[in-house]
Symmetry: C2
Subunit: 136 residues, 2 copies
Amino acid sequence: MHNFVLDSRLAQDSHFIYDLPLCQVRLENVRNFPWLILVPRIANLSEVHQLTANQQAQLLNESSQCAHALLTLFPLDKMNVGALGNVVSQLHWHVVGRRKDDDAWPRPVWGFNPTAPWQEDEINMIKSRLIAQFDQ
Amino acid sequence: MHNFVLDSRLAQDSHFIYDLPLCQVRLENVRNFPWLILVPRIANLSEVHQLTANQQAQLLNESSQCAHALLTLFPLDKMNVGALGNVVSQLHWHVVGRRKDDDAWPRPVWGFNPTAPWQEDEINMIKSRLIAQFDQ
């Protein structure tokens, strides 16, 4: 009876985009970088190695779908992907598009300050374009 | 005729530990954190999404083997896993054991300064214990 509930901090810091088979795709509300997070809809999960082999394969499959979608939408030089979870323990997987002239390059985006939020019309535009990618 | 050659910066900053089916496992020479890197033995590779679906599944399988091995050797609170490649573009996958009292917590390890190197006897000890884990 332990159902998946999205962590409140993740809910607050990102916008729902799409449900892929394993994960909820969300847009991090940080305008500085095109940044998606994938949250497996599984309760009580904090580490990638807690997933089954099939779920791990599916996670990277969905991560690569997100990477390809971001590369279609934005001019990017590099993808940063992975899971940290030092602050929010609920497993969430980052897919971050990087540019050599972005605000944090070549440092990681995690902990970068100060960040700016996306504007509502930008979020709507990105969401509709991402949905079109995932629906293909 | 493009054979895999380990990037010189990766070679300099880490010690060879083991060959898993897809990746070379290396110990990052940073005593502050138990930190392995996985380097797929494939030429001209910089992004996870360039791997085939099977290779991506194998990468996470090997990542989780590394996570379990580090958890056996060290007292750890969290694993940080993923690929950045903003400085060294050859695809290398990080598996970093974190403790809530480590030098960078809760920030990422990438870019952390100052770091200290492992001592030779420590490297030999860690290597032999990791090999025992991978050989199981």
